[in-house]
Structures are given as structure tokens and as C-alpha cells.
């Protein structure tokens, strides 16, 4: 028998397809396949739960388990590292008909995955010497480079508040959830910066000008263009001080033709 065909058949059997040529018969064969299926689904659930803690808290453990299994079959992993799997989960959740009553779920998932990615990003330190370029070079010839794993999630939902409320307990949590419910009713959007604080990734709410600025930096625009995109409200000196202090900035790069 062709080995590629055999392996394809076995993989398909784990999603319910038929397979011939197994030594085990009947219920014993079904039980063997079930052992693999259960292992795969448990792996999917573990991997997604590790990456999407807020989503799991929002939908509850039981629904999350069902969603993880469904997603596993809809978007099976392409690679052998489940820590890297799940990028398509936010869009899949957002498009899921049964989840329509939670329209912010997709954006909360995007924020979760950005945090997960950030914690796996390369470790880096500020190239302090590169800051001297700010004095010697025209801003149209410079780029500000943020730390690996930095991400910006812009949402028309209060994703920072939702994320924060799930980090709290007791009265503080109740208060935070009340605020979030009000923000959801008023469709108050939030922009979230994801950065590393040591080994942990953290969420920083950004005012609109800072969000426009960060968006431009992450798109690789020149410093002069990013300043223009950020607008008059943006305070570059304050941002730079904060970006250095909180280790958001990796360095300044001269743009060569």
C-alpha cells in the first residue's frame, strides 16, 4: 500500500472518515482512533487556552472547549509547534454565527494573540547609541524601531477594559465589569499597545494620537511621516522619554536609498 495514501487515510479517519487495513477490528479500532482524536482535541484546547485567556474567560470553559475542537478541524495546524498556532482564531471567532451576540470577541482574541506572540518574541535591548541619529539626521531619513513583539490593536470595542477586568478579582473586578458593560453599550472603542515588560507582555491603552503614531511606526514609515500621521496632539518628546523608560524602543535606524 502507498504510505502517503495510508497516512492520509488515517489522518482523515481521525476526523470521522473510514479507514481500511487496520489490524484492530470494530470497537477496538474505534477506541484506538478515539484515543488519538481525544489527544489532538486536548492539545488544541490547551494550546488555544494558553494563547486566548480572555476569550476563554468570556465564553466559559465548556464553550471554549467546543470552539477549540471546532477550530482544530476547520483550521488544522500546518506546523509542529502548537505555541505558534491560532493566528486565524480571532477572525474565525468574529465570523462564527453562534457568537454574534459577542461582537467584541474577535478583537479581544486579537489582543490575546498579540500578547501571546509578544511573550514569544525575540529578546532585545535598546541600541542607545542609535539615539544620536535623532540629532544628526533629518527625520525624513530615520525610522523608529519598536521592540520585537510590539503590536497595536485598534478596536471599536473597549478591549483594554475587557482584558483588564479579567485580570481582577472581587470588588475591583465587579467595578471594572460594570465600566466595561457601559463602554460596550456606548460602543466606546479602545486602542491597545502590546509590549513586553520583562518576560510578561502587557497592555497599554493609547490615546488616539499615540495610536496613530504607533500604527505608523509599526508600518515602517519614516519619522517625519509618522509625526505628520500622528497629528498636532502628539507629544514626541514625552513619548520618547516614556518609550525609553519602559523599553518599547529598540532603536533608531537611518533609512538608506
Amino acid at each position: 500500500m502507498d504510505e502517503l495514501q495510508r497516512q492520509q487515510d488515517l489522518l482523515r479517519a481521525l476526523s470521522g472518515g473510514a479507514i481500511a487495513g487496520l489490524r484492530e477490528q470494530g470497537a477496538r479500532a474505534a477506541r484506538g482512533l478515539e484515543a488519538y482524536r481525544a489527544n489532538a482535541e486536548a492539545g488544541a484546547e490547551r494550546a488555544l487556552a494558553a494563547a486566548f485567556a480572555t476569550v476563554q474567560a468570556l465564553v466559559g470553559a465548556d464553550d471554549f472547549r467546543r470552539l477549540a475542537r471546532e477550530f482544530w478541524h476547520a483550521h488544522p495546524p500546518r506546523h509542529g509547534d502548537l505555541g505558534d498556532w491560532g493566528e486565524a482564531f480571532p477572525a474565525w471567532l468574529a465570523a462564527h454565527a453562534a457568537l454574534a451576540p459577542w461582537p467584541y470577541l474577535g478583537d479581544s482574541a486579537r489582543l490575546d494573540f498579540a500578547l501571546h506572540r509578544s511573550e514569544r518574541a525575540a529578546d532585545a535591548v535598546l541600541d542607545a547609541a542609535s539615539l544620536s541619529l535623532l540629532e544628526s539626521t533629518d527625520p525624513s531619513r530615520l525610522r523608529m524601531v519598536l521592540m520585537p513583539g510590539t503590536a497595536l490593536i485598534r478596536s471599536r470595542w473597549p478591549i483594554v477594559g475587557i482584558h483588564r477586568a479579567h485580570q481582577l478579582a472581587g470588588e475591583a473586578a465587579e467595578h471594572a465589569f460594570a465600566e466595561v458593560r457601559e463602554a460596550i453599550e456606548r460602543s466606546r472603542g479602545e486602542d491597545a499597545l502590546v509590549v513586553r515588560d520583562g518576560w510578561r507582555a502587557v497592555v497599554v491603552p493609547l490615546p488616539p494620537a499615540d495610536a496613530r503614531w504607533t500604527e505608523s511606526l509599526l508600518a515602517g514609515a519614516a519619522l517625519a511621516d509618522s509625526l505628520e500621521h500622528a497629528g498636532a496632539d502628539f507629544d514626541f518628546a514625552a513619548w520618547l522619554a516614556s518609550a525609553i523608560r519602559q523599553a518599547w524602543l529598540k532603536g533608531v535606524l537611518a533609512i538608506h536609498d
Binding site: R23, A29, Y36, R78, D81
Partner: protein, 278 residues
């Protein structure tokens, strides 16, 4: 640098990171799942670097999918190579299984240890994939025998012979998991499972076994599951002792991956393995 009196290691798992690195009990080596350290950076990788400062590290993969007829994943090989360069491991190993196969929209990775057939074409696939990895990493691999919950009617080569020929053809070694032998014997309904496992061990050539694995299994209704979630069973210790008598004092690893116990419990299992080394 800690080094155990005997070449016995434990699987380094997240619940034990802090305690192990604070207390550095004497162990011959620690073993990790390679894929858990494929990220570009972050805390887990930093812990592994710390562990490496105290112990030799064995990189044990669960995702190369060396038996896949669809071939190896270059993405996986790149990351494994990077990890090997970073950690300079004592040994590199993976399983005689497949995981990659074409699906409706391209090749998928099942992220599981799926059984291969023991046939000539399957041996050719394994040998080609193992050689490709060894050429890339410029070092020999150890290949682990599986616990398999289904098997194929057209198996044409015995499993010990399959591994003997794979090792001869590629220069790789065998990572003999004696718990997997027992799980397979029980699931096959062998009348004397211990004897069947001893016969497997006795059919292997001396000199190809580079490491032994022991672990716990559980009985789940009609099937035995290799869950690495409990103490090593007495019969599996007996097999470990039998293998050490046959192959000499090869390194032994105690695996415990689910319901991970207190570190002391795991170290107790390691101490028992060391006592078998004599």
C-alpha cells in the same frame, strides 16, 4: 555543574522550573520537548539556558514527524537547527511516527505521534527523513519506538528488525521506550506481556540503544493509554532492568507529563532508575 552518579535524567517540565533551578539536585541530564522552545525568545527559552548551565540537556522532539511520507517540514527543521545551535544538547531525538499528511487545503501537521506501518516503503521513508535531519544537524539522532493504538494488517517487517535496519542504514540510534513496549503488548492482548516485551528487547542488536525511557500508563476502559501521568509500573521497571543488562548502562529518562507530581516524587523515580544501573 551537577552530575549524577548515574546517567539518569528527568523530563524538565514547567511546574518544576523554579524548584529544580534553585536546588539543582544531582541528575545526569534533563530532557525537554524541543518544540516548547521554538519561540524566538521569551521566558521558557531563558529557563532552558539556565538549566543548561547546570545540566546537560537532551532535546526530545515530538514534531519532526520522521515517518511522514509527505516529507519533513523545512520550517520545523530550521527551528530545530536554531535550538540545537543555542543549547548544544547532549542528545537529539524524536519518534518513529508520522504527523504530516496532505489535507483538503495543503499539508497539515496532526501534532500527534501517529503510527507508521512496518513495511519496506515505510522504512525507506523513515531512513530518508532521518538522514536529511542528520545531514542538516550534522549529528546522529535517536529514534523512539511508539506506543500505538492502531496498527496495520500489512506490516511486513518485525518492529525490532525495522529499527535495527533503520539504525544500520542511517547511523541513527534507538531510544527504547520500555513503557511503550508494555502498552503495546497489553493493547495487543499478549498472553504474557512481560515475556513479549523481553522478546522484543532480546531481538534488538546490542549497540544501537542510546537511551531508555520509562513512564507510567493508565487503563482506560478497553485500552491502555500511554499518558505519562503516574508512577512507573513494576513490570516496566523490570523491563528497564532487563534492557540495562542487555545493552549496558545506557542513560535512562523518567517521563512524567500529565498530573505532574512534586519534584521529590519524580526524583524518587529517578533514584530508582539509578539503582538499576547498579
Amino acid at each position: 555543574m551537577s552530575s549524577g552518579r548515574h546517567d539518569v535524567g528527568i523530563g524538565l517540565r514547567q511546574p518544576h522550573y523554579a524548584e529544580l533551578l534553585n536546588t539543582t539536585p544531582p541528575l545526569g541530564f534533563v530532557e525537554v520537548h524541543s518544540e516548547n522552545f521554538f519561540a524566538d525568545g521569551g521566558a521558557a527559552l531563558a529557563v532552558l539556558h539556565q538549566a543548561r548551565a547546570h545540566y546537560p540537556v537532551s532535546l526530545h522532539g515530538v514534531g519532526l514527524a520522521l515517518g511522514s511520507a509527505a516529507g519533513l517540514d523545512p520550517w520545523h527543521l530550521d527551528r530545530l537547527q536554531r535550538l540545537v545551535d543555542r543549547i548544544e544538547p547532549l542528545r537529539v531525538s524524536d519518534h518513529a511516527c508520522f504527523a504530516r499528511a496532505p489535507g483538503p487545503v495543503g499539508v497539515v501537521h496532526a501534532n500527534d505521534l501517529l503510527p507508521i506501518a512496518f513495511t519496506e516503503p515505510a522504512l525507506a521513508v523513515m531512513a530518508a527523513n532521518v538522514s536529511q535531519v542528520q545531514d542538516r544537524l550534522r549529528r546522529p539522532l535517536l529514534i523512539e519506538n511508539l506506543s500505538a493504538y492502531v496498527s496495520f494488517t500489512d506490516d511486513a517487517v518485525s518492529e525490532p528488525e525495522f529499527f535495527a535496519r533503520l539504525c544500520r542504514r542511517t547511523g541513527c540510534g534507538l531510544l527504547l521506550d520500555v513503557n511503550n513496549l508494555m502498552v503495546n503488548a497489553l493493547n495487543a492482548g499478549e498472553p504474557d506481556p512481560l515475556q513479549a516485551c523481553r522478546a522484543f528487547i532480546d531481538a534488538l542488536p546490542i549497540g544501537i540503544v542510546g537511551e531508555l525511557h520509562v513512564a507510567g500508563y493508565c487503563e482506560a476502559d478497553t485500552i491502555v493509554i500511554d499518558d505519562h501521568g503516574s508512577h512507573v509500573r513494576p513490570a516496566v521497571w523490570a523491563l528497564c532492568a532487563h534492557a540495562l543488562r542487555r545493552f549496558g548502562p545506557v542513560p535512562v529518562l523518567v517521563e512524567w507529563d500529565t498530573d505532574v507530581p512534586a519534584l521529590d516524587v519524580l526524583l524518587g523515580e529517578a533514584a530508582h532508575a539509578a539503582s538499576l544501573h547498579g
